[in-house]
């Protein structure tokens, strides 16, 4: 059990955890947090693949590591966009729910 395999297993576990959070948390911010945990699990998988590719005097294969850096940047941009959307939704609607017909239901209630 070396560091790389351990990190790979942690990565798999983090993917499972993150996925569970994304599926079950109703609040979008919590979904987003879980998504980030999920993403970092995926990046760790890349990390173990890089580590197993150590060769030619390099401690790890640089290609997957570089992909992880690109991936982190994209995940951050996505998080920022989602947070902005979420804050705007809350500002407009005073609610952050993701239920599909939330606005329609509220309109119905206020009509009644």
């Amino acid at each position: 059990m070396n560091a790389a395999t351990l990190a790979g297993l942690s990565g798999a576990a983090l993917i499972g955890l993150g996925l569970y959070g994304v599926l079950t948390h109703p609040h979008p911010l919590r979904k987003l947090l879980s998504f980030n945990v999920l993403g970092s699990g995926v990046f760790l998988m890349f990390g173990i693949i890089a580590r197993k590719g150590a060769a030619a005097g390099l401690a790890a294969d640089p290609v997957p590591q570089a992909l992880v850096i690109t991936g982190i940047v994209i995940a951050f941009s996505a998080t920022a966009l989602a947070v902005a959307l979420l804050l705007r939704l809350f500002a407009v609607d005073r609610s952050a729910t993701l239920r599909p017909d939330a606005t329609i239901e509220r309109n119905d209630r206020s009509d009644a």
């Binding site: 990190a7 499972g16 945990v37 970092s40 992909l67 982190i72």
Partner: protein, 314 residues
């Protein structure tokens, strides 16, 4: 079991524990604090995986800038949480979800254990042209030479994210100062920090960009640290965020992808192909691109964190 193995196992459990806490926490704010800690621990894990470049990125983004973004979001969204309590799932759906996620995680774990070690690698191929490019850091070579195209597109993604965030403003507020309405500037420790830290941070960031050619570091990591310095100045309200229509801001935001694209197209004329670097001049060209990428990252991340303009243009 050697001591380093024990440390690795302990670290793995710690990371999993904090991640579990982030998922399971009752309040969003607590979960976010957990995530900040988690980002820090991940940086340690990346150091153990001999991915110092990634560790730097994770430190700057994962626990730094993302932390700021999520903490302020959690505070602003506090009022929304109570209303959503009743949407929590019952135990049966949770179990179904848990079972499905367990299957997915188990499959991935099995696959990881099954992978050959040493596995497939491009390390020898990636290492060979380093001297010709004048670089010592193979990751920088991947990012800015072999897969330069991806890196350029990733910078375009950042610009698109800014447009997306800005588009969430209102018609009336378009052209106003970026970010939410703020109170008057603070005095005291925060202002002190915000005056003292940026000069130091700029030195560190430039150092990290500069050594990126040969050592861990590079444009993105340096740019992210610079953006953190800009954020702390904004948070202490020493400076107002610029209006989104300011020309210098727009130029700074796109400077990275535009310079990258322009040099790529110049490659047609000078080096026989798109994103090809002229023989013997690769290093200066790469440094030139990195400078502008640093600038645009440093300008982009604060814009993404502080959000759309929320005030009428004056």
């Amino acid at each position: 079991m050697t001591i380093i193995e024990a440390l690795d196992i302990g670290l793995a459990f710690l990371v999993l524990g904090v991640a579990g806490w982030t998922i399971a926490a009752h309040e969003a704010f607590t979960a976010v604090i957990g995530y900040v800690v988690y980002g820090l621990l991940l940086a340690l894990v990346w150091v153990r995986l001999f991915a110092l470049d990634v560790a730097l990125t994770e430190a700057a983004i994962g626990s730094g800038v993302t932390g700021v973004l999520l903490i302020s979001a959690a505070v602003r969204l506090r009022a929304s949480e109570a209303e959503m309590m009743h949407e929590r799932l019952g135990i049966a759906p949770r179990l179904v979800a848990a079972a499905l996620c367990l299957v997915a995680a188990a499959a991935l774990a099995a696959v990881v254990l099954d992978m050959p070690d040493p596995g497939a690698t491009l390390a020898p191929q990636a290492r060979q042209p380093l001297a010709e490019l004048g670089l010592g850091n193979a990751i920088t070579a991947v990012l800015i030479a072999y897969r330069a195209f991806d890196t350029m597109l990733e910078k375009v993604v950042l610009v698109l994210a800014v447009i997306g965030v800005w588009s969430l403003s209102t018609d009336a507020n378009w052209g106003g100062l970026a970010g939410p309405t703020r109170l008057e500037r603070t005095e005291g420790p925060l202002a002190f920090l915000a005056q003292l830290l940026p000069p130091l941070g700029i030195i560190v960031a430039l150092h990290i960009v500069w050594v990126g050619a040969n050592e861990p570091g590079g444009a993105f990591q340096g740019g992210a640290l610079l953006s953190a310095m800009a954020l702390i100045v904004l948070m202490a309200r020493l400076r107002e965020a610029p209006a989104i229509g300011r020309r210098w801001l727009r130029v700074a935001l796109i400077s990275g992808p535009v310079v990258f694209l322009a040099i790529g197209l110049l490659g047609f004329a000078l080096a026989g192909g798109f994103l090809a670097y002229p023989l013997g001049f690769a290093k200066p060209v790469i440094v030139f691109i990195e400078v502008f990428m640093t600038l645009s990252v440093a300008a982009t991340l604060p814009m993404l964190v502080i959000g759309p303009p929320d005030r009428r243009p004056s």
